[in-house]
């Protein structure tokens, strides 16, 4: 078979997977802590790119400093979002808060469209060149994305399980009142979660962008969908699960695009949709299947 070989397809799949995983970790982090699904990560990521472009392209800062400031701004935005809106919502229901994140995304998107809709912004990559993998030039930034995602996926898990603050996050999710009573400031825990989630979204967007170089409104949202899907495929409340979900999604996308020879655009979205539906079907049917396969009940005399 001509064209890129299997190794290159795998490499492409893992590159996407790294980005999806970073977004997915931000989703899972907030979900584990508050049972809220956040839909704002994509726009937070895009906004972080605009901030970086403003600092680097327009004002000549180095890429590293610009990116660092952008991540800090994203984290601050997360904390502010929690402090100013989530905490003060009259309806503290997770579903309402989830819609609140949609509203935040819509607001940021509207501002992007209004200010930069006509003219795409340029942002130069921090480093040039890269490693040759089976004919594919993989940039160091892409490798960094994969490594950071894997480290965070398993490192954050250890952080949640092994540290006091991590346990406080888990406890606050299970029973906020009881957690408050043992002296944990639940509101501060939550603020940290939102800040962390938004920072992760910014990091994800910053690590994908150098290979594209041009930013347009809503740019990271399409990738964020991959993160949301990866989180759901991974079970939504598991950090390592999110990494595995992202890996499956990235690889299946790469293989389908490479080997399914149809002349249709946006195949990656079709794959995302189908994988999501398969994962949900599996989750709803597995318990039934397990019950059916388990040994029959003992006959009662």
């Amino acid at each position: 078979m001509r064209g890129p070989g299997v190794i290159q397809v795998i490499a492409l799949g893992l590159i996407s997977a790294g980005i999806y995983a970073l977004f997915a970790l931000g989703v899972v982090l907030v979900y584990r802590g508050t049972k809220v699904l956040t839909f704002a990560g994509g726009e937070i990521g895009t906004a972080a790119l605009y901030v970086t472009a403003f600092l680097v392209t327009d004002h000549g800062l180095s890429w590293g400093v610009g990116a660092l400031i952008a991540v800090a701004v994203a984290a601050a935005a997360g904390a502010l979002f929690e402090f100013a809106l989530v905490r003060r919502s009259v309806d503290a229901d997770p579903v309402v808060t989830s819609i609140l994140t949609v509203a935040l995304a819509a607001t940021i998107l509207a501002i992007e469209l209004n200010h930069f809709g006509g003219s795409p912004k340029q942002l130069k990559p921090p480093v040039h060149g890269g490693v040759n993998v089976d004919g594919l030039i993989v940039s160091p930034v892409q490798i960094a994305a994969i490594v950071v995602a894997a480290l965070l996926g398993f490192g954050l898990q250890a952080f949640l399980r092994r540290t006091d603050f991590g346990l406080a996050i888990l406890a606050a999710a299970d029973d906020p009142t009881a957690t408050r009573l043992v002296g944990v400031r639940v509101s501060r825990v939550r603020m940290t979660l939102w800040a962390g989630s938004f920072a992760l979204a910014a990091i994800a967007a910053l690590l994908v962008e150098p290979t594209v170089g041009v930013i347009s409104p809503g740019y990271a949202s399409r990738l964020y969908l991959g993160g949301l899907a990866a989180a759901v495929i991974g079970g939504l409340d598991s950090l390592p699960g999110a990494v595995w979900g992202a890996t499956v999604l990235g690889l299946v996308q790469a293989f389908v695009i490479r080997y399914l020879r149809v002349d249709v655009g946006g195949l990656d979205f079709d794959v995302t949709l189908v994988l999501l539906l398969v994962a949900l079907l599996g989750r709803s049917l597995l318990p039934q299947l397990r019950r059916r396969l388990s040994p029959p009940r003992e006959a009662v005399a």
């Binding site: 989830s98 609140l100 655009g265 949900l280």
Partner: protein, 620 residues
């Protein structure tokens, strides 16, 4: 039995058939306005576009406002409707008349929603939101880019509908068609809300377990809501097609779905009027803004809308319509003044089994209505119920006691089907119901209440009594949307609800939202809802919790009425020892997941193992 006087004067209202007049006005007004130069083509196009958004808003409202499920890709379904219309009516395609395109558009929207919803709606949670974003991208970036469907970069040409030989190709024509469709869909929406379907949506939005206890098949009804929503979105798409004449895939992307969310939430979830007004206002005001502030403000409307959405979701989740309603209620309460005493000693009406429900298998007195054997449930590391069993004989009151965490409510949930046990069987009226879902057990004649009140708290007492009769009016989706074939059932439902209201003494609270009643009053309404379908077995989870001693005494009398006057069988979880001793024929005591004692109540409470379970070891 005493004759029940029906409060007819309240329910009969002078009914003027507004629908035909509204349709006529919708069809003729745009044309008349255009002739008298009140309406030019660009304005008609703007209003036509608002019509599309209003109908799409109604589609999202069915799903989000009524059934409480989120779609963030609603405009993908609008797109499906638009391109289906193109494929069915297009000159290079099937060339069928426009009406066929409309039907096909609704059908295609419904079909895709059904296929997507089937896996996504079986689980609780926000999965549908994620899936519908994926649908939004897959549709606008993939499906609609297929040249055969989307017409390529030039877009798909949608031919205008014909009236005889006249092509309805102007924006004014499209507006007239749009208004007619809008009026029809509004009427359908009214029918829906007043039907068993709309009530099932409301109660499952409020609490899925409560819905199941009323006999609502939750997964099925969520799927119906989404399918219906897809069909209405398809209609919006068809209208979009003839309004513009040419459609391109980009107009149905995620951004537009977000704009739709703004309209629905700002207008007020669940308020069709609010949503239609919001659709037209958000369509019109950007032009007004530009007229007043000049070109510099162009594009700011989206920021204003999104910002408003942010503030609304945080501080007024019910939108403008909700704010309006709250203000009205405040005024009424201030005008009211009088606060009537809460009735706590209801006179339970003996209603008999509703005509629409299967008659439960009768059992002889003294035989078991319910028998649970060897039930075990494990939650992670906690063995909540461990080989427990109980038997409830016909015509008795059986009480289940035990310290907190003994597994009583878990046992209840296994019996009602809300929870499936790891081990053990449940027999009800002689039938093994162990693998039946809760709504089927409700249909067999199992009624239950919940520790924290199983009612839709934002709905009125009367609505709750109607919701509870979900199973008693077995008409289908089409009857619900058109009221054809549903009136007879609805009349019976309302009669039963009226009789129950009368019996409970809750007549003056009929329109009061349940959440505004006191806890004790809510409990009585809940018991009324449980009895309104005359279940064979009535299961009450801590009915006296939060009641005053006097009210608890009234409750005891009510329980005895259930057994002696209504011939019901009762199983209750209770902590109130005098209440149990005063009413129960048999008592089971659970501790740490096991049944540690059962028998004659007076005897059981004195047994040392029971005393120990409640008070701990006696220290010498």
């Amino acid at each position: 039995m005493t004759a029940v006087t029906l409060p007819l004067n309240r329910t009969t209202r002078l009914r003027v058939p507004i629908l035909p007049f509204a349709l006529l006005a919708a069809a003729l007004l745009p044309g008349l306005a255009a002739r008298t130069v009140l309406l030019n083509e660009p304005h008609a196009l703007l209003l036509g576009e608002s019509c599309v958004f209003a109908i799409a808003g109604l589609s999202l409202n069915v799903l989000l406002g009524y059934a409480g499920q989120i779609s963030l890709g609603q405009f993908a379904f609008v797109g499906v409707g638009a391109f289906t219309t193109g494929l069915v009516t297009g000159v290079h395609d099937l060339r069928l008349p426009w009406f066929a395109g409309l039907v096909a558009a609704a059908g295609a929207g419904a079909l895709i929603a059904f296929l997507v919803g089937l896996p996504a709606l079986r689980l609780r949670g926000l999965y549908l939101a994620v899936v519908t974003i994926a649908v939004a991208y897959a549709a606008s970036e993939s499906l609609f880019t297929v040249t055969r469907i989307g017409g390529g970069s030039a877009g798909k040409v949608i031919p205008p509908p014909y009236l005889g030989t006249r092509a309805l190709s102007t924006a004014v024509d499209a507006l007239a068609i749009g208004l007619v469709l809008l009026v029809l869909l509004l009427q359908m929406d009214v029918n829906l809300v007043r039907s068993r379907l709309g009530r099932a949506f409301q109660v499952l939005k409020s609490d899925e377990s409560v819905a199941a206890s009323f006999g609502v098949d939750v997964a099925k009804h969520k799927l119906i809501a989404f399918t219906l929503s897809g069909a209405i979105a398809g209609v919006a798409g068809c209208l979009d097609g003839i309004t513009y004449g040419t459609v391109t895939g980009g107009t149905f992307d995620y951004t537009h779905s977000l704009a739709l969310l703004v309209i629905v939430v700002l207008g007020g979830l669940g308020s069709r009027t609010g949503i239609v007004i919001a659709a037209f206002l958000t369509g019109i005001y950007p032009s007004l803004l530009i007229a007043v502030f000049g070109e510099g403000i162009r594009g700011w409307d989206q920021i204003i809308n999104a910002g408003l959405l942010l503030v609304t979701v945080a501080f007024q989740p019910r939108g403008f319509a909700g704010a309006f309603r709250e203000a009205a209620e405040h005024r009424r309460m201030r005008a009211g003044g009088e606060s009537p005493l809460p009735p706590t000693r209801p006179n339970l009406p003996d209603l008999g089994r509703p005509a629409g429900m299967p008659v439960p298998r009768r059992t002889r007195p003294g035989t078991a209505v319910l028998e649970a054997r060897d039930v075990s449930v494990r939650f992670g590391g906690l063995q909540a119920v461990d080989g427990a069993g109980l038997r409830v004989d016909r015509g008795t009151i059986v009480a289940l006691m035990g310290p907190n965490g003994a597994g009583k409510t878990t046992m209840f949930n296994v019996i009602s089907g809300a929870l499936s046990a790891d081990r053990g069987t449940v027999h009800f009226l002689g039938e093994d119901v162990s693998s039946r879902p809760p709504h089927q057990r409700a249909a067999l004649g199992m009624g239950r209440t919940f520790q924290l009140i199983g009612l839709a708290k934002d709905q009125s007492v009367y609505e709750n009594l109607l919701m509870a009769q979900h199973l008693a009016a077995p008409y289908g989706v089409l009857s619900a949307l058109t009221t054809v074939g549903s009136r007879r059932w609805e009349r019976e439902l309302r009669t039963r609800a009226d009789q129950t209201l009368d019996g409970l003494g809750f007549d003056r609270f009929r329109a009061t939202a349940v959440g505004r009643l006191s806890h004790g009053q809510q409990r009585i309404v809940e018991i009324g809802c449980c009895l309104v379908t005359s279940p064979e077995l009535v299961m009450l989870d801590e009915p006296s919790a939060g009641m005053s001693p006097a009210a608890a005494e009234d409750l005891a009398a009510t329980l005895i009425d259930m057994r002696d006057k209504l011939d019901r069988t009762v199983l209750l979880i209770e902590h109130n020892v005098p209440l149990v001793l005063g009413t129960a024929d048999e008592l089971y005591v659970m501790d740490a997941g096991r049944v540690i004692a059962n028998g004659e109540p007076m005897d059981v409470v004195q047994r040392p193992e029971v005393v120990r379970a409640y008070l701990g070891e006696v220290v010498a």
